[in-house]
Structure formats: C-alpha cells, structure tokens
C-alpha cells in the first residue's frame, strides 16, 4: 500500500510513549491521554490506569518484572524527556536537601571542597546504583544526626522566667514536640525504611572535617512597641474607677462608650498631669537637671 498509510501505525508503535504499556490504549484513540511516572521506579503509564490501580491505596507496579509498591500521590507528569535525567534530578534534589551546608559553615575552603566531593560521591553512587544500601544508610544517618543536633540546640534555650506565661507555654509546647520528634527514630518507628538506623542513632555516621558547630538562631524576643520605654509614676497610683459626681455623665455617655473611650485613660492622663513637674523646681535652674535627663 501507500507509504504514509503504512508508516502511521508503525510510527505509533516505535514511540512507546504513545501507547500505555498497561492498558495498551494509544493516543491515537484518546487525544487527551496523559502519561504519569512514579519516582519509585520511573515506569510510565496513563492517567486512567493510575486512577484504576492506585485509587484504593498502595499497590505493586503493574509493569512486568517490577514489584515496587507505588502510591497514587507520588505520581506526576514527566518533566524531562529523558527519564534518566528525570531520575538524576530527583536524586540530586533529595541529596541536596540533606547536605545543605554552604561554604560559610566550614573553616576553610579546602574543607568545603572535601565536603562537596563526598556529597558528589554519594549522589553518583545513588545515580549509578553502586552500593545503594550503604549509601542510603549513610544519607539517612546523616539526616537524622542533623535533625537531632538542631533540635538539641533549640532545646537548650531556656525561656526567661520573667516572660509572660503565654510565651512560656508556647515554648514548652514546642519543646515537647521536639522531644517527640527526637524520640521517633530511636523508639518504635512506624517507617520500616529507617529500621536500619535503629540503635545506631548514637553512631556518628558521616563526619566532615572543619565543619563549624551549628549555632541555632537566637530566639525572637516578644515585640515591644515602646522599645523598652515605660512611664512609671512615682507620686500616684491610678485606680480603675473614681466615684465623682461630675464624671458620671461622661462615664455613662453612649458617645464615649460607643467610641471605645476608656475612662482609665483620662484618669491616668489627669494624674500624670497633676504630678508632671511635681519634683521639678524652675528656680533651681535647668542645667544641672538637664545633665541627667539627656
């Protein structure tokens, strides 16, 4: 027959991306077909297959010879045409999230370069699937160690006892959460993957020469709009209420109340005015007093 007609189906067959390896439906029949991958094994399948197989929970990969358990949430669209690149980018991202030191964290540039070398080795081991078990273990150990270090540092912060109880409570809650988070890897862990790390929590794992000690950021002080300044009267104490006839009208005036006017503002204002300058003697001259004011 004519060449173009023969080429059509063969073309579709040669590009395996156009036919779902699971249900064999092709883009030729369904224009809107979308292919998804799972970073667990990078096997490609169509969206409707993913919906059908994984909607009810984790299931093994339907591709022959692959027994990995996949979850629906992890499925996503392919970003790179070459799946090898896709995988490498994923691995690099994962490694970079754990090994997040910068040059400033090291004593010397040499130490930093050594660190980068180690990280690159780990990355390539994972990419090339060399010694995966041991490398993965290293990665996890280091991650756990980092987490523990930061949490312990955060925990050593003792809240100022003079702080209002609100803040203190928040700090307590926080440290409780930290304790729980720390307890997880050592105690009974729900994640079987980290089983290898069990009991080895105290083991140092990876160590880098010349790495500076982690210093947690200083805790944020509660916001003070007056920057530490306050008025502390020495001659009077403002009461919450004063029972004087000429005030009753103002106190009960809906215009005052509705506007949110607080009579205590007036009381403290009036009393402050009453004694502002009580201990100031103009006839003494100002120069001596100015010295201790400014």
């Amino acid at each position: 027959m004519s060449k173009p007609a023969a080429r059509g189906p063969s073309n579709a067959n040669s590009k395996d991306g156009e036919i779902c390896p699971v249900c064999k439906s092709s883009r030729y029949l369904n224009k809107h077909m979308k292919f998804l991958i799972n970073p667990e094994c990078y096997h490609k399948m169509c969206e409707s297959c993913v919906d059908r197989i994984f909607s009810h929970g984790p299931a093994p990969c339907p591709i022959a010879g692959c027994k990995r358990t996949l979850r629906k949430v992890k499925f996503r669209e392919q970003r790179f045409e070459d799946l090898k690149v896709e995988r490498e980018v994923d691995i690099r991202r994962r490694v970079a999230a754990v090994f997040d030191k910068t040059e400033d964290d090291f004593e010397t540039l040499r130490d930093y370069n050594d660190y980068l070398e180690t990280v690159e080795e780990i990355t390539w081991n994972l990419i090339l699937k060399i010694d995966v078990e041991a490398t993965e273990k290293k990665l996890r150990q280091y991650e756990a160690a980092q987490k523990a270090e930061r949490n312990i540092q955060a925990q050593t912060y003792q809240p100022d006892p003079s702080l209002p109880s609100d803040t203190a409570q928040v700090v307590l809650k926080k440290s409780a959460a930290q304790r729980r988070a720390q307890g997880n890897p050592t105690g009974n862990t729900p994640d079987p993957a980290s089983g290898a790390g069990n009991g080895q929590q105290t083991e140092p794992g990876l160590r880098f020469k010349g790495l500076k000690k982690y210093v947690p950021p200083p805790p944020e002080a509660p916001f003070d709009p007056f920057d530490g300044w306050a008025i502390e009267p020495q001659y009077y104490v403002t009461q919450n209420d004063y029972d004087v006839e000429w005030l009753t009208r103002a106190i009960n005036d809906p215009l005052h109340i509705g506007g949110g006017y607080d009579m205590r503002d007036f009381y403290s204002w009036a009393l402050c005015d009453a004694f502002s300058g009580f201990g100031v003697f103009v006839e003494d001259g100002k120069d001596v007093e100015m010295a201790d004011v400014f």
Partner: protein, 422 residues
C-alpha cells in the same frame, strides 16, 4: 528604661525653653525693653529727619506740612525726646491686654484651654517683643487664633474675624508668622487644669476611704486612717479639729476645687506663674489658697515631711501662692467691696495713662502689620500694581526659560493641546 512624671515635664518645650528663674525673666524683659526703646527712638529720629528734609525743599511753611504728614500717624510733637515705656509699664500693659484677651475668649465662648493657650502665647511673645513695637490688640487676636489651632478647636478665620469688631481675615493672618516665630514654633502649653482634676479625683477617693497610695512613699496610714484624718481636718490653718461627715468633707473638697479652678482660669494665666513654676506647682498652690489644711494633708501623702524635698516644695508652693494671690482678680475674704472697688478704679486710671503713653511711643515702622506681611512675600504689591518694568523683565525671563526647556525636552503636551484648541 523608666520615665517618671517629672521626666516627662523635663522634656517639654515649656520647661526647656519657657521656664525661667525670676532673675532670668527680669533680665529678658529688660533686654527686650531696651532694644525696643532704641528702635523706636531711631525710627522716630529717622522720620523726623525725612520730614525736615521735605519741609525744607518745597520752601513752604514748615508747620503746615508737618501737620499734614503727621495726620495719618499720631506722632509726638517734634523736637522732644520720645518718652518710651519702662519695663514695668510694659509688663503692666501686657498683663492688661492678656486680661482683655481672656474677656474676648469668654465673649466668643471659646473653651478655656484655647483662651489660656492664647494668653500664654501672648505672654511668651511679649517676652521677646515690646508692646511699643507690636500693638497688643493685634497680637492678642492672632494669638488666640493660633491657640485655637494648637488646641484642636476648629475656628475658621473668616468666621473668627467676623465675630470681632472691624476685623478682616487679613488682619488676623498678618502677624501669624511673626508670632509663630517668636514662639519658636513651640505650640504646646502645659496647663494646670487637668492636673487639678486629677488631684481632685484622688482627694475624693481619699475622702471615701478608697484611695490607693503610692507604694514607694513610706506611709503608715491605711486608706481608712487617711479618711479619718481628713474628716478631722481643721477648717482653717491652726484652727481646732473638726468632725465632719463624709458628705460635708466631699462638699468641702468640691468647693476647694471650684475656688482653685477660678484662680487657675484667671490669676494663674495673668501672672508670670507659667514662666516661674511647673503646672503641678501652680494647681497645688491654687489649691493651697483654696483650702490650706486639706492641701497640706494631701501633700503629706505624696511627699511626707520626712522627705528632704518637703520643705523646698512648701516654700515653692507658698511663693507661687503669693504670686497668684497678688493678682487683682483674687479677692481674699478679708477685702471689702469698697476696698476692691477703690483698687480697681486706681488701676483703671493708671492704665488709661499708660495707654496714652503707649500711643505716643509706638514704633512707626511696625504700625501696619498687614502691609509688612505683604512686603515680606514675593511680588510685594505696591498700590495694587507691580512696577511696570519689573513685570516686563519677569515676563521675558519666564519666556526665555520656557523656550530653553522646550528646546531640550520638547514642548509640553498640554501646551500643544491648548494651542490646537485655540
């Protein structure tokens, strides 16, 4: 950092720039008086010289011309030294004009804070200027207008001018900048009115036996004992102890408040109290005049006699009270109506003489403030028209500038549109 009430006052402009010892105040007034007198004499001499020149050149009869020139401004008869006001006379006049300003505020039904601030502005102004230089009547109207703005009391200038006899808005606005400058842009005046209210609140709380006493002042009294002490207060200093009911005590405190308030609204404003004492001392002094035993008891809860400041405080309050009671608006119970009337009449006569004297020694350069104010602005208008060649010159300069700008940036868009439209 902790601030006390006293620190707050020490940071106010009233304390930093407008508080003086009696000696400093007198020295400042003397300086102002001497400078103003010299200016007046110089200005009058200059005017006389100009007039003499005029009378000589047209070769007319000297006496006729002189009277014509002097018709619009009252001038002292020639060839006599100008008789300037003395420092004391100046102060007397300013006090009198302040009193008139107070009456004006009453007449216009302005809140007392506005009038009081205006009066203090006037007093501050005349510390640096003399009534010989600037007419107190003109200044007082504007001072009150500025005060209405400083105190947040909306008073439109047109409305204000209309409520005054023979006054145009320009008359109000002309000396405005002059006064602001003399005030050194310090608009805040700290009055003792609110302080008096605060003290009154506390005394009422004490009378009810519910007062909270400051913790840092050693006190062996509890609120109940304090109330008892108040109930037994003698009616007058040194008198026998009384036994009042709580109602009577409250009435006594309220009466003292009314009396003190009257002093603060009159004598305190019309004397140098604001320059010499702090608002706290002023209201306490007024209260001392109103009810001495009560005030002394109240003071002992703030500053007990064991405190080293106590003696000094009392001396200060007594001298302030003496100043307040020396004012003629204060009438002690000992003074009879006839005595007061006689004193007022004497004051009136003296003031009339002073006013006459002032009219003869005014600085002729500063009579028309509206004109002076206009002259300070750009394009001072002389007889309603700019000088012809000046206007021409300015027009050419403007066109030249516009042309240069157009050459560089291109003609402005709106201008182009306008040209097209026309």
């Amino acid at each position: 950092m902790k601030l006390t009430e006293d620190d707050i006052y020490r940071r106010s402009t009233q304390y930093l720039h407008w508080s003086f010892t009696a000696a400093q105040l007198a020295a400042q007034r003397l300086k102002t008086n001497i400078q103003a007198a010299e200016r007046v004499k110089a200005a009058v001499a200059r005017q006389r010289a100009a007039r003499a020149l005029k009378t000589e050149t047209p070769n007319a009869s000297g006496s006729e011309n002189a009277s014509q020139n002097g018709a619009n401004t009252p001038l002292p008869p020639p060839d006599r030294e100008v008789d300037c006001l003395t420092m004391a006379e100046e102060k007397r006049l300013v006090d009198n004009f302040c009193e008139k300003a107070l009456e004006l505020g009453d007449f216009l039904k302005l809140p007392i804070e506005v009038t009081a601030t205006g009066v203090q502005f006037m007093r501050r102004f005349y510390l640096l200027n003399s009534p010989m230089t600037y007419e107190p009547n003109q200044i007082s109207r504007t001072a009150i207008f500025i005060a209405s703005k400083a105190e947040g009391h909306h008073l439109p200038v047109a409305h204000y001018a209309a409520s005054l006899p023979k006054t145009k808005p320009e008359d109000i606005l002309a000396p405005e900048y002059l006064i602001t400058q003399a005030l050194r842009f310090h608009y805040e005046v700290r009055h003792p009115f609110r302080g008096l209210k605060g003290g009154h609140l506390e005394m009422m709380a004490m009378a009810a036996g519910k007062a909270t006493l400051p913790p840092n002042i050693p006190q062996d009294r509890d609120p109940r004992a304090l109330q008892q002490a108040m109930l037994e207060l003698p009616r007058r200093p040194g008198g026998p102890a009384s036994a009042m009911s709580e109602k009577e005590l409250e009435k006594r405190i309220t009466e003292a408040y009314g009396f003190a308030s009257h002093i603060l609204k009159n004598a305190a404003l019309l004397t140098d109290a604001y320059f010499l004492y702090t608002p706290s001392h002023i209201w306490l002094s007024a209260h001392l005049l109103a009810d001495e035993p009560l005030t002394l008891l109240y003071l002992s809860t703030k500053c007990p006699p064991s405190n080293p400041m106590h003696a000094k405080l009392l001396t200060t309050l007594r001298s302030c009270a003496a100043l307040l009671s020396s004012h003629h608006s204060f009438h002690p119970a000992s003074q009879t109506e006839e005595e007061k009337a006689a004193r007022d009449k004497k004051d009136q006569v003296e003031l009339k003489a002073l006013m006459k004297k002032l009219r003869l020694c005014r600085d002729p350069d500063k009579t028309n403030l509206v004109k002076l104010n206009q002259a300070q602005k750009r394009d001072a208008v002389e007889n309603g028209e700019l000088e012809e060649n000046k206007r021409k010159k300015r027009k050419i300069a403007r066109e030249q500038y516009e042309k240069e700008a157009d050459d560089f940036f291109g003609p402005s868009l709106s201008k182009k549109e306008n040209e097209n439209a026309s």
